[in-house]
C-alpha cells in the first residue's frame, strides 16, 4: 500500500470519473452516424432500398442536419437479402465506422442476424420494413425498435374481418421460408380464434414463377378464401395465376402483405377490389400528401410504407438524442419509449416496452381501373384500425421486459 501515493490515487479516480462521464453524456465519435442497410438491387429494392435512404436523408435534413451541435451522417449499404452479407456490413459499421444506429432492415433473415450484432454491441436497430414479429417477441432485444407493421397486424387487419364476415374456410399459398411460415402461422391462429378453419396449405418456394399447381390445389380445396402468405414478385405471380385460372371468380383471394409498388405494378383488372392492410398510405390526408409529394419529387415514386416508416423512426430517434443529451443507445431508447412519436406517419402511436411501435393501421381496398384518377391513386382507405387492435397485446415472450 505504501507505494501508492495519494496524488496518484486521486488522479486515477479522477480519470475514472471523467471516463464514465464521457460515456454517460455526449456524442460518441463527435458525430451521429445512421447506417441504412437494405436490399438495393434485388426483389425488395422497391419497398425500401434507395427510397429508405432518401427518407432518412429527408428526416436528417428536416431535423437541421445536426443534433446537440454535432453533425449527423448517413451511410448506406446493400445487404443483397443475405444474412451473412448484412451481418458482415453491420459488424464493420459498428466496429470500425462508429455507426450509432442501423435502420432500413428489410428481409427478416438479415434483420435477425443484424439485431444479434446490435444487441451484442449495444447499438440501436431501427427496423423499418421487416415483417416477422420475432424481433419483439422471441428474438427481442432492448436495442430493437420495430416500426411500420408486422405479421400480427397484417393477420388482424386482413384476416379477422373476413372470417367475421362469414368466410370460414381458408386456404393458404405460402412462401416456403421463415417469413411465409410466420405469416401463415399467425394468420391460421386468427382464423381459428374467430371460428374459421384452415382447409389446406400449399408451400411454394421463394421466387416461384409458375403457381398453376398451387392455384389448382387451392381451387379444389373448396375454400371460401385463398390467402396469399407471400410478398413482392411471389405475390404478383401467384395473384396473376389465380386470375388466369378463374379462382377470383369463385372465391375471395386475400393478399396478406402487399406494398404500394406491387399494387401499382399490377393490372387493376387483376388486383382491383382486393382488401389488404397497410401501415401507411400516401393519400390519407393533407399531412401525408405533403410529405409524400416531397418524397416523390426526390425519389420519383410514391413512398412505400417502410419508407415513410424510416422517416418517422429516424425523426423520433433524433428527437430522443436531443432530449437525452447523448447518443448512448440505452439512454436514447429510454426516451424513445417514454415520448410518443407523432408525425404524418405515426398516429396514436407509442413505442411499447418490447420495442414494438404501436400505431394506427389502415384497411384499404385496391381501386378498380375506372376509379383511379391518376397512376398513384391505387387504394381506398376503408377503415382505420386502432393500433392496439392491430398489434394485439404484448405477449409474454420477451425476456428483458419480463425481468424488469
Amino acid at each position: 500500500m505504501k507505494s501508492i501515493k495519494p496524488q496518484m490515487l486521486a488522479s486515477a479516480i479522477g480519470a475514472a470519473i471523467s471516463i464514465s462521464a464521457a460515456n454517460a453524456a455526449g456524442i460518441s465519435g463527435d458525430t451521429v452516424k445512421i447506417g441504412v442497410l437494405a436490399d438495393m438491387g434485388g426483389v425488395y429494392a422497391d419497398i425500401c432500398g434507395a427510397g429508405c435512404v432518401t427518407a432518412v436523408e429527408m428526416a436528417v435534413e428536416d431535423f437541421g442536419g445536426s443534433v446537440l451541435g454535432k453533425p449527423i451522417e448517413i451511410v448506406s449499404a446493400d445487404d443483397q437479402n443475405k444474412a451473412d452479407v448484412g451481418a458482415a456490413i453491420a459488424r464493420k459499421w459498428l466496429d470500425t465506422e462508429d455507426v450509432d444506429a442501423i435502420t432500413g432492415l428489410v428481409a427478416s433473415s438479415v434483420t435477425g442476424a443484424v439485431t444479434e450484432i446490435t444487441k451484442e454491441k449495444g447499438k440501436l436497430a431501427l427496423i423499418s420494413t421487416s415483417a416477422s414479429h420475432a424481433f419483439t417477441t422471441k428474438a427481442c432485444s432492448p436495442y430493437n425498435a420495430h416500426w411500420t407493421y408486422n405479421v400480427v397486424a397484417l393477420a388482424n387487419g386482413t384476416v379477422k374481418p373476413m372470417v367475421q364476415s362469414g368466410k370460414k374456410k381458408w386456404f393458404f399459398i405460402t412462401a416456403d421460408y421463415a417469413f411465409g411460415h410466420a405469416l401463415e402461422g399467425v394468420a391460421s391462429k386468427v382464423v381459428a380464434e374467430n371460428g374459421g378453419e384452415v382447409v389446406g396449405t400449399a408451400r411454394a418456394p421463394l421466387g416461384t414463377t409458375d403457381f398453376s399447381s398451387f392455384v389448382l390445389q387451392a381451387q379444389s380445396s373448396g375454400a371460401d378464401v385463398v390467402a396469399l402468405a407471400n410478398a413482392g414478385s411471389d405475390f404478383v405471380n401467384s395473384l396473376q395465376s389465380a386470375v388466369e385460372f378463374g379462382l377470383t371468380e369463385t372465391t375471395d383471394v386475400a393478399g396478406l402483405l402487399v406494398f404500394t409498388p406491387n399494387a401499382q405494378a399490377l393490372d387493376p383488372e387483376v388486383a382491383g377490389g382486393m382488401r389488404l392492410t397497410t401501415g401507411f398510405y400516401w393519400d390519407l390526408d393533407d399531412q401525408t400528401r405533403a410529405w409524400s409529394k416531397r418524397f416523390k419529387e426526390r425519389h420519383g415514386s410514391i413512398p412505400a410504407m417502410g419508407q415513410a416508416g424510416a422517416y418517422s423512426m429516424t425523426t423520433h430517434y433524433l428527437n430522443a438524442i436531443k432530449e437525452a443529451g447523448t447518443d448512448e443507445a440505452e439512454a436514447v431508447m429510454a426516451v424513445m419509449k417514454q415520448n410518443k412519436p407523432n408525425d404524418f406517419f405515426a398516429r396514436n402511436a407509442y413505442l411499447r416496452a418490447d420495442g414494438r411501435m404501436v400505431h394506427d393501421m389502415y384497411q384499404v381496398r385496391i381501386k378498380n381501373g375506372s376509379e383511379r384518377s391518376n397512376p398513384d391513386d391505387i387504394f381506398e382507405v376503408e377503415k382505420v384500425i386502432p393500433g392496439e387492435e392491430a398489434f394485439g397485446p404484448m405477449l409474454d415472450q420477451c425476456n428483458f421486459v419480463a425481468s424488469k
Binding site: Q80, K82, A83, D84, A87, A88, D95, E116, Y177
Partner: protein, 309 residues
C-alpha cells in the same frame, strides 16, 4: 527440424501483424476463404479434379458447428472438430460416388450431391431455413480464452489457418502427394504402375472436404452465423474463381485469390457499384481465364523464373 521456407515465414509474420493494420474481421474472412480455396485447390490443382460441390462441405462444417455450439453448449474447439469430422464424413460419401467418374461427369456428380445437401439444409428444422442460424456464441476456447475478444478470435483463426496450410503443404510434398500429381499428369500410367487411382483420389477428396469443413466451422464462429449462402452452389463457383484468379496448383495462389475476391466484394458492396458486383466478378473471371491462365501467383512465379533465374 523445422524446415520453414522463406515464403511461409513471410506468411506467418504477415498473419501476426495483420490485425493491427487491418480490420480483424476482414482478415479473418480472408483466412477462412483462403483455407477453403486451398482445400479446393488440393483437388483441382494437385489431382486435377474439378469439384463443383465444395459449398456442401463448407456449409456442413458451419451448420454442424453452429448447431453443436448453440444448442448443446459444446466448447468452440470441439464444435470445430465435430464440424470438420462431419464434413469429412460427407466428403467420404460424396467422394466414393464421385471418383468413379471423370472430367465433366465428376463435376456434375459433385454438383448434384451438393444440391441435395443444400435442399436438406433448406428444409431441415434445425438450420432455420432462409434465416439461417443466428447469434451463435463464440464461447471460450479450452475454457479460458474468451473468443468474444476479437484479437483472441483472430489468433485462433490464424492458428486454424496455419494448421490447414501446414497439412496441405505436408500432403502435397509427401509420397502420397507425388502420387496425386502423377495421377493428374497421366492417370492411365499411374494405374499401370500399380497405384489404386480411385482410392488415392478418394482420400484426397476426404482431406479436401474436411479442410473445407474446417474453414466453414471457423467461419461460423467468426460471424456467429451459419446461412444457406455457404451451402449454395454460388459458393462452389466462387471458390473456383478464387483458385483460378490466385493461381491453380500453387500453394499460395488460393489464398491470394481469396484475398482478392473478398477485398473486391468488400469494396464494391459499400460503394456505388454495389448493384454490378456480379457483373464485375464475371468480367474479372473472363479476363483471368483469357489473359493470365495461371493466375496471379502463377504469373508471378513465371515472371520470377524468366527474369531472375
Amino acid at each position: 527440424m523445422l524446415n520453414i521456407s522463406k515464403s511461409t515465414l513471410i506468411l506467418v509474420v504477415l498473419g501476426l501483424i495483420a490485425p493491427y493494420v487491418l480490420y480483424p474481421v476482414f482478415v479473418m474472412k480472408i483466412l477462412c476463404f483462403g483455407l477453403f480455396a486451398m482445400a479446393f485447390n488440393l483437388l483441382l490443382g494437385y489431382v486435377g479434379l474439378l469439384s463443383f460441390g465444395h459449398a456442401a462441405f463448407l456449409g456442413t462444417g458451419g451448420y454442424v458447428t453452429g448447431y453443436l455450439v448453440m444448442e448443446t453448449g459444446l466448447s468452440p474447439e470441439l464444435g470445430i472438430l465435430f464440424g470438420t469430422i462431419a464434413a469429412g464424413l460427407l466428403g467420404a460419401v460424396f467422394g466414393k460416388l464421385a471418383v468413379k467418374r471423370e472430367g465433366i461427369y465428376f463435376a456434375m456428380v459433385t454438383l448434384a450431391l451438393a444440391q441435395l445437401a443444400f435442399f436438406f439444409f433448406l428444409q431441415a428444422p434445425f438450420t432455420g431455413g432462409e434465416d439461417g442460424m443466428q447469434g451463435i456464441p463464440r464461447g471460450t476456447l479450452f475454457g479460458f480464452i474468451d473468443l468474444n475478444d476479437s484479437l483472441n478470435m483472430y489468433y485462433t483463426v490464424l492458428a486454424v489457418f496455419l494448421f490447414g496450410f501446414w497439412l496441405i503443404k505436408r500432403t502435397i510434398h509427401s509420397p502420397f502427394g507425388q502420387v496425386l500429381k502423377a495421377i493428374r499428369e497421366n492417370e492411365p500410367r499411374a494405374l499401370s504402375l500399380g497405384y489404386n487411382v480411385n482410392d488415392y483420389k478418394w482420400v484426397a477428396f476426404i482431406i479436401s472436404a474436411s479442410l473445407a469443413g474446417l474453414a466453414g466451422s471457423t467461419k461460423t464462429l467468426v460471424f456467429q452465423l451459419a446461412s444457406l449462402t455457404d451451402a449454395h452452389w454460388h459458393m462452389s463457383g466462387e471458390v473456383v474463381l478464387m483458385t483460378l484468379l490466385g493461381g491453380m496448383g500453387t500453394l499460395f495462389g488460393p489464398l491470394v485469390g481469396a484475398a482478392s475476391v473478398v477485398t473486391i466484394q468488400n469494396y464494391l458492396s459499400g460503394g456505388e457499384l454495389g448493384n454490378y458486383i456480379h457483373i464485375i466478378m464475371g468480367v474479372i473471371f473472363v479476363v483471368c481465364v483469357l489473359a493470365f491462365r495461371s493466375g496471379i501467383v502463377g504469373e508471378f512465379q513465371k515472371f520470377m523464373k524468366k527474369n531472375f533465374n
